[in-house]
Structure formats: C-alpha cells, structure tokens
C-alpha cells in the first residue's frame, strides 16, 4: 500500500512490477489510468492545471486506499496522482489493485476511482484553445457513482 502525489509521470509496468513481482499469491492485477483528453465539453483543450491540498490529499488517498484494501482483501495497491501543468494525452492518475482473484481486483479499481473522484482534494483548471482558463465543475454522476458503494464506507 502506498500513495504518491507528484508532478512527474509514472511508468505503468514498473509500478505493477514493484507491487507484484515478489508475491506469487497475486493472481489478478487491475489497473486504471486517467488521462487528459483533447476536448472538454466540445471545446478544444490547450492545457490543464491540477491543484491539490498538500497534507490533506495524502491523508485522504491513504484513507481511501485502506478502505479498498479492507473491503476487497487486496494483497497490494498503489495510487499515484499527478499535479501541476498537464497537456492533452498526459497521464493524470494511476490506481493498481492486486488480489488473489479477478473480481476483487477489478472492483477495487472501480471503488478507488469513485472515491478518489469525489473525496480526494484535487481541482482541475482547464485552459481552452482561446487561452481562457476555467475551473472544472464537479459532476453529479461522480457522486452517484460513489453512492453505489454505500455512503460512508470509505
């Protein structure tokens, strides 16, 4: 279990290997990567800036990860979230969940992303093709997605 908040990109294969190479109890590894898309709400995106709440972010991510480990009996897990200036196509977030069997690993990825999207203190500001910057609005569908897991579980 570990979480990182960083400007640097991550290497998917290296992160998976670090988590799983030494443990032959792991039969299933699910990963999720979120990337910056080239369009936002039908408008071309020039760049994105990610702000966070230092101190609180790490605490929230660790809390969310611990909830997933307990709920899905994970053997290992990892969350990396990037901050700072990002371009279309750049990676934003990586979650990895390792478990003996597949459904727990895949469900844990789903759960981690739903909680991360609604509880981890990150904020995106998008700069469009016209150079105009605007803060991204939170999506009600993200709250609805989290509530699938029953409120208060993480």
């Amino acid at each position: 279990m570990s979480v990182s908040v960083q400007e640097a990109d991550f290497d998917l294969s290296a992160e998976v290997a670090a988590l799983s190479d030494a443990d032959t109890g792991i039969g299933a590894i699910a990963t999720f990567i979120g990337k910056v898309r080239g369009e936002a709400h039908g408008n071309k995106l020039q760049s994105m800036s990610l702000e966070h709440y230092p101190g609180m972010t790490e605490a929230e991510l660790a809390r969310i990860e611990a909830a997933a480990v307990a709920r899905f009996h994970l053997t290992a897990s990892r969350i990396i979230h990037r901050i700072g200036a990002l371009q279309p196509g750049d990676n934003i977030v990586l979650v990895i969940a390792c478990a003996p069997h597949r459904h727990n690993a895949i469900s844990a990825c789903d759960f981690l992303m739903d909680y991360l999207k609604t509880e981890a203190p990150f904020w995106k500001k998008e700069t469009g093709g016209d150079g105009h910057g605007s803060w991204v609005d939170a999506r009600e569908t993200d709250d609805a997605a989290r509530s699938r897991w029953h409120s208060g579980d993480a």
Partner: protein, 92 residues
C-alpha cells in the same frame, strides 16, 4: 487589542476558485466567539471584504475540511488548528 477568551486563532486555507476570489492561499484568522460551526464561519467570511463576499456568496457551493478531514456545514469548529475551504473536488 483585547482578546476574548472564546476567540480562537486558526489557519485558514483556500483552494481553486475560492483561493482566486479571496486572493490569498492561506492566512491566520481570529474567529469571533459567536462563530461556532463551519457554516457560521463561511457566512462570517462574507463580511470580510469584496473578495471574501464573492468567494463565499453561495456557502452551499463550498466544501470544507478541519485538520485535513472533510466536514459538514453543521460541524463545530471546536479546537480546529487548520480549516480549508474549497469547491467540490474534481481530480482523478
């Protein structure tokens, strides 16, 4: 300057558009004794100047944390060391 025994000093931090409207990322604030809850604090913030009035115009649009934990409008400020105000989160 006399200090009421119930007045408390806390660090308040602002993020995203709350930070931009307030014009500060962090400050030490002396909380008046009649400000008991996070909701009280958000409403009191409106009185502190134009930037604050704009940032806190719709308290329901703002989320808060006490000492790095999410809290609700009705949560007591209590012995908080640090309070954060920010929009609903949009990471991931």
């Amino acid at each position: 300057m006399s200090t009421n025994e119930n007045a408390r000093e806390v660090t308040v931090r602002y993020f995203a558009w709350v930070r931009e409207k307030v014009g500060l990322s962090e400050e030490r604030v002396t909380v008046p004794p009649d400000v008991k809850t996070i909701g009280d604090l958000a409403r009191w913030m409106q009185s502190r100047g134009d930037g604050y009035a704009s940032a806190f115009a719709k308290p329901d649009a703002i989320r808060a944390a006490i000492d790095h934990k999410h809290v609700q409008a009705l949560t007591q400020i209590g012995a908080a060391r640090e309070i954060g105000f920010f929009p609903p989160v949009t990471g991931g």
